[in-house]
């Protein structure tokens, strides 16, 4: 591009709310939730498009004009066998630093995906089942510490008898806090086998059903003050 063309391009990118021209290194698959929203908006008839609100995500009923899906950049805390009764222990980290300063975070949703619904289902009558705990890290672990510091803040604790293909948790509060008050030190995900002894945890059912764990991602909705604030003013 000539100097003038690159200047024009940077001005155009800026008007689109982009500080630089992205240069992705990999082309990750498009998350199905984004593709569905994109297709739905594309097929809206022109008139309802105008009536619709580009500054609101109807699918989640929150203000916003930018939706990102962040891949988890964390790691499993245990290589090999986690402690007794613990099927999975993983540090989750979503790098929200790409959000521009003028963006207001309005929603964050964590999704934990499994490749399929696993069976056989443990017997709830015997109080057996899977438990999921999600902690918010408030301190970086010392190198080599096998388990998260108990002082982490517990965000979610729930048991589920039957595994579902994906579990969704609203982390809007935590994500907003990461952006405004404290550092984003990630999360700790634990899935444990409850009820019964260690042997049953490792037997049929128990932890084996967790082998279908796929990945975690964080869907974040933000509202660009530059694009949604200005146009509103002009219309008024």
């Amino acid at each position: 591009l000539s100097l003038q063309e690159s200047l024009q391009e940077s001005l155009l990118l800026k008007s689109l709310g982009l500080s630089t021209k992205p240069s992705p290194k990999t082309h990750a698959p498009v998350p199905s939730v984004l593709w569905r929203i994109f297709q739905r908006r594309k097929t809206l008839p022109a008139l309802s498009k105008d009536l619709g609100d580009a500054c609101r995500v109807e699918e989640f009923n929150v203000p916003g004009n930018i939706i990102r899906v962040f891949a988890d950049q964390g790691h499993f805390i245990h290589h090999g066998q986690p402690p007794r009764l613990l099927c999975l222990q993983k540090r989750l980290y979503f790098n929200l630093s790409v959000l521009e300063e003028g963006e207001r975070l309005t929603m964050a949703q964590l999704e934990i995906k499994f490749s399929h619904n696993s069976y056989p289902s443990p017997s709830p009558s015997q109080g057996q089942g899977l438990e999921l705990r999600l902690y918010r890290s408030s301190r970086l672990p010392l190198r080599g510490t096998p388990a998260p510091e108990r002082g982490q803040k517990l965000l979610v604790e729930r048991s589920f008898v039957q595994l579902h293909k994906s579990l969704v948790f609203d982390l809007s509060g935590v994500a907003k806090d990461w952006r405004t008050h404290s550092r984003n030190l990630g999360l700790i995900l634990e899935i444990a086998w409850s009820g019964g002894d260690g042997a049953s945890a490792l037997g049929s059912g128990g932890c084996t059903s967790i082998s279908s764990f796929l990945d975690t991602s964080l869907l974040v909705v933000t509202l660009s003050q530059q694009q949604c604030g200005a146009s509103r003013r002009r219309r008024r």
């Binding site: 591009l1 391009e9 689109l16 709310g17 630089t20 021209k21 992205p22 240069s23 992705p24 290194k25 990999t26 082309h27 990750a28 498009v30 998350p31 984004l34 593709w35 929203i37 994109f38 908006r41 594309k42 022109a46 498009k49 105008d50 619709g52 580009a54 500054c55 004009n65 930018i66 939706i67 990102r68 899906v69 962040f70 891949a71 790098n95 790409v98 694009q227 949604c228 146009s231």
Partner: protein, 113 residues
Amino acid sequence: SAQAPPVTLSSLCKPRQLYISFSDVGWENWIIAPQGYMANYCLGECPFPLTAELNSTNHAILQTMVHSLDPEGTPQPCCVPVRLSPISILYYDNSDNVVLRHYEDMVVDECGC
């Protein structure tokens, strides 16, 4: 007015087709979809008298009148977008995240004086 060329329907203020191709501007590496879109633009005359089809403001009506009386001193009203609609763009950001972004007022649906 005898000298002015007759205003034809096609020269009146209205949307004209303009297709923006993202690959033409070298953005195909980071824009996932769409590959381009019909943005359109407004072009055409706002002659006196302004008809209702020309989506004119009261001021535009006034200005065409003055223009007809004093063509050198006062120009015709402008032909501008009066109804626009948004588009959504799916793209990769610098951290390889997939982003869906909605942009308001990206397609010219209607023009007016």
